[in-house]
Amino acid sequence: MSLTQIVIFVAGALLFGTLAALAARDSTGRLNALARQMRPWLMLSASVVALYWLQSSTPIRHLDFWLPTATLGLTGLMWAATRTPRPATASRHSDQAAVAAAFDRRTTLLTALVIVGIIALIAATRYVDALCCLTPSRPPDIGAVAIALLICAGLCVTVGRLAGQSTTGGAWLDAALVIALLGLFVALKTEPLTTGVSAILRTLTGQSVSQAAALDVRWLGFSYIAFRLIHVLRDHANGRLPALSLREFVTYVAFFPTLAAGPIDRAERFVKDLRGWDAGASAASARVEDVAEGLRRILIGMFKKFAVADTLALIALNPVNAGQVQAMPWAWVLLYAYAFRLYFDFSGYTDIAIGVGRLFGARLPENFDRPYLRPNLTLFWNSWHMTLANWFRAYWFNPLTRRLRTARRASLNPAAIIFIGQSSTMLLIGLWHGVTWNFALWGAWHALGLFVHNRWTAFVRSRGWGAPASNWRGRALNALNIVLTFHFVALGWVWFVLPDVGQALTLFARLFGG
């Protein structure tokens, strides 16, 4: 997201937040009711528009239009698949109004019309030079857009029917869709496969296949969107997903502040904010607080991102300067700059997303909690990219370790279970960033660190050494632990930032005086 885009989003959200705060004071209650009514539609519309506006340009013709459309198509498909609640859902979620809304044809149709209308309007800018274009390049022919939307609608209806036919069929469908999403995810994160996708798309558009490159297919926010969709499919399969209307579902998946850099919220938490925005008499003060807190977070986030992170970016370690650095101390400086740049960049974006969300009354989850001030790696991972770590905990680590513990034939000891669980989780978190050796090694680095810490903690406990004292010695030990943990994490970034393993090893040698 550029500064201009952020400023426009912030201005829009601030305008809404301020008007909503004023509306809450209206003694007749009419304005308040209007604000309540308009808010979900505004959030939906802004999110749909943002999908197109934030999408970066690609050399493949019209792809910057088709990718956001595909996001909406996929989201519609997943909603159709998860619309019918699994049996356990009804007993867990007693919001009958929401369940009714999820099945209300009129609201669904209206939502679909709003989405299609926005897409059509964006596509129509092709024909009005003065307005063209919200997308980075001129949108495709309106006829092609209409055909694509009809295909999407057909698929959604078919999947909806399949999902509604039987409960067993629904489980099968959830699993198939998760696999399909993972397949798409892998295809987009593996350079040779992405290049292949680019070649196919280039063939379809009649462009030169020899120019195909992985960077051709830059799908805005797909990493986050895919994980939100997998989350709803898994929760649906487990009967934990609340009934969501199409409007709520699309807004959850594509909520515009979270498109570029998360956080990965949970659907049941997000819809609570969507539905419970106006809580009676306290609404006015709550909205003023939302505006104040939202603005505070946005300003902090912008300072982190544009003042600190972008300045550190000038000197942060990268594949070019890693090969040029001549002396050990300066190699450490570049590495520190990278570590802090990454943190301030990512957490700055998160602050902005949380702030903008707050202006709309949505309390998005925190993603960072002073991660570089944690005294061990386990606590680091409880405070760094928390929503991603929680996602993997919920959908991989916990089910896997549970399965390993309860497997009849296996007789694994707890240490082995922890090792398998942590290794595979960290490896997958690494590969989430891209299917490459360096990300896999970064994951393995952290897996090793977590396992060693786990065993060390078990060893300390077994000796009865207990927690560090609160005196100066304890504080000094804590400070030392923070320094060690930070350096372990910082050294891990070497794998993360350098795509070539040989170059990473050379830099390690340089960092330690080689």
Binding site: V288, E289, V291, A292, T311, L314, I315, V320, N321, Q324, V325, Q326, A327, W330, A331, V333, L334, A337
Partner: protein
């Protein structure tokens, strides 16, 4: 948070914003900020003034705050050491060392020879070249450099840096309008102080918001100090097209046509002002080497820059002016062979730079 306190916060923030901007506009703290530098303290001083169009590859950038430029240079490291004979080299990109590693520039090559004067002082040359062809720019930098106690100034010039009409074309001159106007007034230069190319910032442009780009450049220069220290790189070295040998059959020089180049067409007054500015410090003016083509139409032109008629007349004018004014003048126009130029008619290869350095060092050591 009550609405009253919110209002107060907003009003206070606005007042603070206006006050900070107003103070910035009135006090113009940028030169002071520019002189605060981590160079020569945290990271080594740069051996040449900051300049680059590709900061992310060169770890260097072009900026207009003169104090920041000099504060990042190794010449600002501290007082002049005893026993040092300090020589300032000023001139264009050939002095700065375009496409040359720091160890291959003219100044570095002179220093590598360790020339020693008869009184035992060791010559230490400082590269204050700047990749822009304008003697007015040289004068501007010389004025800044005088505080560093030079013993000799070597001023390399070429015809392209002298056309009177082209003195104010360059951004570093235009963005230091007040200093340039002062030079015009102090030395009676035949330049128009009201020339529209000299940029006078409005009140808004002098505020913190208006000066944000210049301020950011000063900060970026400090940040790039880290990468300069870490890598020793201060320039991007792209593959380049060698300077043209086969030339157009065109005998024009800018808007001038043969047969005559007049002394008034050249900014010789700026060279005279330089001597006045330097006072007792001697100046050696060097007509820098140029590429002498032997290719197509080389009977019409020496190189891409110069038609033969204009350059020949320039040399006569320069020699005459030096004689009349009593300037120390060294004409090394044909010193460097054709093969020792890189991408332009004045940019030298490391060997070309060494050749030039040898001749200049001889003159310095001999005290000619």
């Amino acid at each position: 948070m009550s609405s009253v306190s919110t209002r107060r916060i907003v009003i206070k923030a606005l007042l603070l914003f206006v006050a900070v901007n107003a103070v910035f506009a009135l006090t113009d703290p940028l030169p002071t900020i520019g002189s605060l530098s981590g160079y020569n303290v945290v990271f080594p001083g740069r051996p040449r003034l900051p300049y680059s169009d590709f900061p992310d590859r060169a770890y260097n950038l072009s900026l207009y705050t003169l104090n920041a430029l000099f504060a990042s240079h190794e010449i600002a490291a501290g007082p002049k050491p005893a026993g040092e004979y300090r020589v300032l080299l000023i001139g264009d990109s050939s002095v700065w060392g375009f496409l040359l590693r720091p160890q291959d520039t003219l100044a570095a090559r002179i220093n590598a020879m360790r020339p020693t004067l008869a009184d035992g002082r060791i010559v230490r040359a400082y590269n204050l070249g700047y990749p822009i062809m304008s003697v007015t720019k040289d004068l501007l930098l010389l004025q800044q450099a005088m505080r560093y106690q030079p013993d000799l100034i070597v001023w390399l010039v070429t015809l392209e840096s002298l056309p009177a009409g082209r003195q104010l074309l360059h951004p570093i001159v235009q963005n230091n309008a007040a200093a340039v106007r002062a030079l015009i007034a102090d030395y009676g230069l035949p330049l128009d102080p009201a020339d529209a190319r000299l940029l006078t910032p409005s009140l808004m442009e002098r505020t913190l918001i208006g000066q944000r780009r210049n301020l950011a450049d000063v900060i970026r220069l400090q940040m790039y100090g880290v990468l300069w220290a870490a890598t020793g790189i201060d320039q991007d070295y792209p593959d380049y097209e060698p300077a043209a040998i086969d030339l157009e059959a065109d005998d024009s020089f800018h808007d001038l046509k043969p047969p005559a180049l007049r002394a008034e067409d050249l900014a010789l007054d700026v060279l005279r002002a330089g001597h006045q500015l330097a006072g007792n410090i001697p100046i050696l003016i060097v007509n820098e080497p140029i590429l002498i083509s032997n290719g197509q139409n080389s009977d019409i032109r020496y190189n891409f820059f110069y038609p033969r008629w204009a350059y020949d007349q320039y040399r006569i004018i320069m020699a005459g002016a030096a004689q009349r004014q009593g300037w120390r003048y060294l004409d090394l126009w044909d010193l460097v062979p054709l093969t020792e130029f890189t991408n332009s008619a004045v940019h030298l290869t490391p060997r070309g730079s060494a050749l030039l350095a040898e001749r200049i060092a001889q003159h310095i050591a001999a005290g000619d």
